[in-house]
Structures are given as structure tokens and as C-alpha cells.
Symmetry: C2
Subunit: 376 residues, 2 copies
């Protein structure tokens, strides 16, 4: 009889497996400690689990158009004890903002970490890439990410900035070039490290020969005190002035920087990409290296730049522009690339498959950073 | 006729005010950018606003017993367009974890920042204190809060630690004493700065004469690889070993510390308070200053300490123990204080009105820190 036990037990387990039976996999890296769900199987199908006993409908949805997870809400299925579950079709590797929708109200998943995106803390799902790990923490020396507070003369308020210092910064006496790196609309100064893993991307690149640098990640929103903004304002009108008046002097005072235009870069994604192009290209006395990652271009003014190609080229060490084919900003970026071409502004144009999401921006950062400060 | 317009307009506004009419006040400091609600009026009554058109019942509740906000869920009232609102009775100043309950399911408030507590990101409400501002950012020099990653020999995994360096650290060459400061159960290494504002408390104290110090805030959870934990395990079993084997050597290697027991303190709140007392008092060759803030004592072993008072006193520069009258741990802490008294272990005992919440721990930190490293 005894020999039968394991067989019976195995059968019982197999029979009890519900329809969302999982293949071998593991909890998502973005889960809170000990949370089993969201669970990612070996085909990158993601199983969600939500406890909502009184709900009539529970759904999960990815945020952002053409996100690689799901634009259309997927219904969870009610099981016992008010537990709702669903397993999605295979998901592309990357980082996705998502929410649970309970009877029409979007809420965060208590099983996942929150990330500041979409103007509030939003659940995030990290789907590991089986092929690439350039943004994962590896056994290489790690830099620090420092949070620094400063009083802005421009806004009259306290601001918080994140500063990556490369491995060995404290032990040495070297001075370093600086990359100013901006987040997208609805995000914050924390996004490039929390969502983008910029610090690990830099650690890994520096470990394999990229020039060590300081990376400064500020908040892209800034308003002057007492200024009444128009209803469609983004609230980022004073960012350029904060960057030039407050931030660059602050960083050059408190860190061992190479404090000149040749050793200063500015880049950003989406809204931050528009800010980087506008502020960078219009202030070439401050920046020699400029990058726009899927930049949002509509509200930014580059006319004077296009009218002055002859002045721009000699000062510009690198202008990097990239956007994915499936990104809603692809057409406007392609047009900008063509406008640069037409007036003869030298630049790197990167296009390829990709939507408006973090996995693309991790790639762009990984492409952009090794080009910086070469030949100096 | 024209003169009547303002009167009519004023009347119309007054008449249209609903029952949750606000007195003059302002949005909570814990709100996300531009969120009007939660709104705190001049009597510290808090108005919440939730959009949930299909919900049958929407409530707001504070987390934690005897929290100064509300233990019992308060019903919001449904208004037009599926917007639910309520104004609470006056709330004590301080920081509160809270959640919105939609038809029985607790969710976060999209209008507030999230704080890692209760083992997942949880909404937080900061209610300003009209009388005290020792934990607010003031116009004094600010230290940095650095995030550092390290590979733990003990757990075999990557860990993240927060390190406060005092104002002027980078510019100078001084070496500093170190306070290791631990969070409570369900929280993380970010709690002392995000919820506790420890960095601003230190900035303000240092600006008025407290000895500058480094503050190290690690995650209090740690498990060895492959160890199967009992079902009631907290998962913090390897913390002591991480602290002694991994963390102290790491900090003493990478920061300008005074690397000896006389210049090393250990304190914590709740679970972290129990950890501080157990690890600190049992390792007096490593620590000379120990603090327990409303410590959870049940699972921690202090017997050998109580049996060796004669050895403890000469090594201990400070033992600080505090707990509020309304705290559920008050009785056990009072008993610990009496046990220390009985065996003659010198200590500071702080009791007074207070529950198990962050405003108390801010006060305790503010009381504890100026006593550290005196006479050295």
C-alpha cells in the first residue's frame, strides 16, 4: 500500500490544479517580499491574483498605448473565497505599469511594488528577459544613488534630486563628467533608477569599459511661485531655469565634476526627451552631448536650432535621437530626424521595433551612455 | 445691478457647499502633486475624495491599533458622478498609514503617496503639527541619503541599504560615529527617511549642535539561502549575522567612520527595537549605545543580558528604552524597564502619552540622537 501513496498524492495534486495551471516559473521580480503573484511562467504568461469577495468584475490592464502587456482590460475569473485569478497570454519582456480594475475603479495590486508613474504610485510588473540582462544587478562594483535636497531659487521651494556616483567615487579623487537624465510625464526623479534601473545599467557598462560618470536625475516639473498656469499647463515651465540656475551650480559645487560643456550631457525620455533637446540644443554653451529617447516634441521649440545649423554642429559632440516604429511619437521623431538632416545637423538616428515603454528606454540608455565623453 | 453680482455669487457658492464644507486649510503634504484631497482643514479634519462610480460602499480606515486617525472604517458619502467624500473628525498630528475600502476590498488612495508598510506599498497621510516642526525640512544644511547595494555573504543575495551622511561630509575629511537604525515589521529600509523623516530630524539637530553622525538604515529581514523557515517565522532570522558579518565591515570600509564600539550605536522601532536590544546588548564589543523605541520584545532573548548586569554596565554608554502608555507593547516594555532596574542595568526610561505610530518614533529619535557619542 505504501508505494501507492505518492502516486495517489500526485494524482490528487494534478486533479486539483485549476484551469490556470502554471508551467514552471517564478514570482515576478517586482512583487513585494513573499508574494507568489503576479507569477510568470516559462512562456512569460503572467498569472494575477486578487482578493475581492464583493466585486462583480475584476480586470487587469496595462497602462499606456501599445504597451507590451495588454491595452484592453483582461477579466479575472472568480474562484473560491472571493479570490479572482487569470493567466494572460505571453508578455514581452520589460517593465509595465498596470492596474487592477475592480468594478470599474482602477486600483493598485497589493502584491506588487508601486512606481511613481501616471502622476501617482502605480503598480509595476517586471518581466525578465531571457536573452538580455544588461540592466540587472550583476556581481560588478556598484555605484551609489544619492538623494539630495536643495532649495531652488527659481521655484522658491525645496526640491529632491537623485545623483548616481560611479563605483569608487568616495575612495578616489578623480573628477567626472556628468549626464543629466530626465524622466517622462507623470513620473518623478526616482523613475530612472526604480523603473529604468539606470544605476545597474551604468554599473555594468562601467565594469566593461565605459567612461565612469555622474548621473543627475532631477524632477522635470518646476513652477515659479505665484505664477498662475494656464489650464493645459504641464507645470514644467520653469525646469530649464531650475536646471541652469539651481541644479548645475549645485552639482558642480558638491560633486567632483568636470564642470564644463565638453563634460556635460543632457538626455531624457518622452517629456524629458523634449526637455533635453530644447534645453540642450539651445544652451550649447552648457552641454555638448544631447539625447532624446522617444521624445515628446510638440510643446518644445527647436526652430532657432534648425535655423542655426552652422553654429550648432561645431559645438555639438553628440546629438542622439531615437524612437520605436510602434511609438505614437514615431512620426514626429522621424520628421525631426529629417529636419536635422535637411539643415545638416549631425546626429545619430536610432529607429527600430519598439513602443513607448521602459524596456526601449533602457536600451536607449545602454546605447547612448558608451558614446558619451569619448575623445576627451 | 452690477454691485449685486458678488453678493449673489457668494450666496450661490455658500448654498452649494455640501455638508462636508471645509474650513480654510490645505492639501495634505503627503498628497501627490496637484491632488486637492486628502484636504486638511484648520481643525485638522481630513476630507477624503474617491471616484468609484459602481461601488456600493466606500470607506477610509487607518491601519494599526489605536492609531490617531481612525481604527473603525468611516463611510464616505456618494455624491454626483460616482464621487465619494467624507470629512473626518479632527485627527492628531502625525503620519498615518491608511487605506480606502471599496466594497470590502482595501486599496490605496491614488491621491496620496505610497509608503512601504504593512508588507506592501500603503497610502500615507501626513497631518502637520501646528506646534512642532523638528522633523520638517528647514533652511539648514541638508545631509544626503545614499542608496547602496551590497552582496550579502550571509543571505547570498543582493541587499539595499540607506545611508545618511551629514551635511559637509563630502567636502571634509572628518571621521564620524555611526548609528544603525532599524524599521518596524512590514516596513523597509526606506521607512526611517520616507515615513520618519530621519534625515531632516538629523539635519535640524546637527544644525543646533548635535554631534554629526552617519545613520545606516538596513532592511531588517534576512534569511539564509536554503533554510526552510517555520510557518510563523518573520523571515528576519539572519539579520544579526548580516549586520555583524556583512554590514558593519561594509560601512566601515566605504565611509569615513570611527570604527569602534564607542562610536557605534544601534536603535530601532517595534520589531527593529527588539532587534536593536537583542543584537546590541548581546554584542557590547560592537555597540556602546543602544535604543529601543516601542520595541516588540516577545521573540527576542535578553536573558543572558539580565543575568550579566555587572558585565553590561561598564560597557554600555547608553541604553534608551521608551514606549507610550497607549501602545499595546507598553506593559511588556514597562516590565523590561523594571527588569533592568531590578538587576541594576543603567538605562533611560521614557514613558508618556503615545501609541504605536510614527509621530512617537520621530520624537524618540529626536530625544535619542542628541544623547549619542557625548563625552567622547
Amino acid at each position: 500500500m505504501k508505494a501507492l501513496y505518492p502516486v495517489v498524492l500526485t494524482l490528487a495534486i494534478v486533479i486539483s490544479l485549476p484551469s490556470y495551471a502554471q508551467q514552471q516559473g517564478s514570482p515576478a521580480p517586482s512583487n513585494v517580499r513573499d508574494a507568489e503573484y503576479p507569477y510568470i511562467d516559462s512562456n512569460r504568461r503572467v498569472t494575477f491574483r486578487v482578493q475581492a469577495p464583493q466585486a462583480k468584475r475584476v480586470q487587469v490592464v496595462g497602462l499606456g498605448s501599445k504597451n507590451g502587456f495588454t491595452e484592453q482590460p483582461i477579466n479575472l475569473v472568480r474562484g473560491e473565497n472571493g479570490v479572482w485569478m487569470v493567466t494572460t497570454p505571453p508578455v514581452r519582456p520589460g517593465f509595465y505599469y498596470y492596474q487592477i480594475i475592480i468594478d470599474g475603479t482602477p486600483v493598485n495590486d497589493q502584491s506588487s511594488e508601486s512606481y511613481f508613474g501616471w502622476a501617482h504610485p502605480t503598480s509595476g510588473l517586471e518581466v525578465p528577459d531571457p536573452a538580455f540582462d544588461f540592466y540587472n544587478a550583476k556581481t560588478v562594483p556598484h555605484g551609489e544613488v544619492r538623494v539630495r535636497w536643495y532649495h531652488s531659487q527659481v521655484t522658491g521651494a525645496l526640491r529632491q534630486v537623485y545623483v548616481y556616483t560611479p563605483p569608487g567615487y568616495d575612495a578616489g579623487t578623480n573628477r567626472y563628467p556628468v549626464l543629466y537624465l530626465q524622466h517622462g510625464a507623470g513620473e518623478s526623479e526616482r523613475a530612472w533608477t526604480a523603473q529604468g534601473k539606470a544605476n545597474f545599467i551604468l554599473d555594468n557598462l562601467i565594469a566593461t569599459g565605459t567612461k565612469p560618470m555622474i548621473v543627475v536625475m532631477d524632477n522635470g516639473y518646476a513652477r515659479k511661485p505665484g505664477v498662475k498656469l494656464p489650464p493645459d499647463s504641464w507645470g514644467n515651465e520653469a525646469f530649464e531655469e531650475v536646471l541652469l540656475v539651481d541644479l548645475i551650480p549645485l552639482i558642480d559645487t558638491h560633486y567632483r565634476t568636470l564642470a564644463n560643456r565638453e563634460h556635460r550631457a543632457l538626455a531624457g525620455l518622452s517629456m524629458g526627451g523634449g526637455q533635453a533637446l530644447q534645453v540642450g540644443l539651445n544652451n550649447l554653451n552648457k552641454f555638448a552631448w544631447v539625447g532624446g529617447f522617444s521624445p515628446f516634441l510638440r510643446d518644445f521649440n527647436l526652430k532657432s536650432v534648425l535655423n542655426n545649423a552652422a553654429n550648432v554642429n561645431p559645438q555639438l559632440r553628440l546629438l542622439w535621437l531615437g524612437c520605436g516604429y510602434q511609438d505614437e511619437f514615431y512620426a514626429s521623431n522621424k520628421a525631426m530626424h529629417q529636419a536635422f538632416q535637411k539643415v545638416g545637423i549631425k546626429h545619430v538616428w536610432v529607429e527600430g521595433s519598439g513602443t513607448h515603454e521602459w524596456q526601449v528606454w533602457r536600451w536607449y540608455l545602454h546605447d547612448f551612455v558608451p558614446r558619451l565623453f569619448l575623445g576627451l
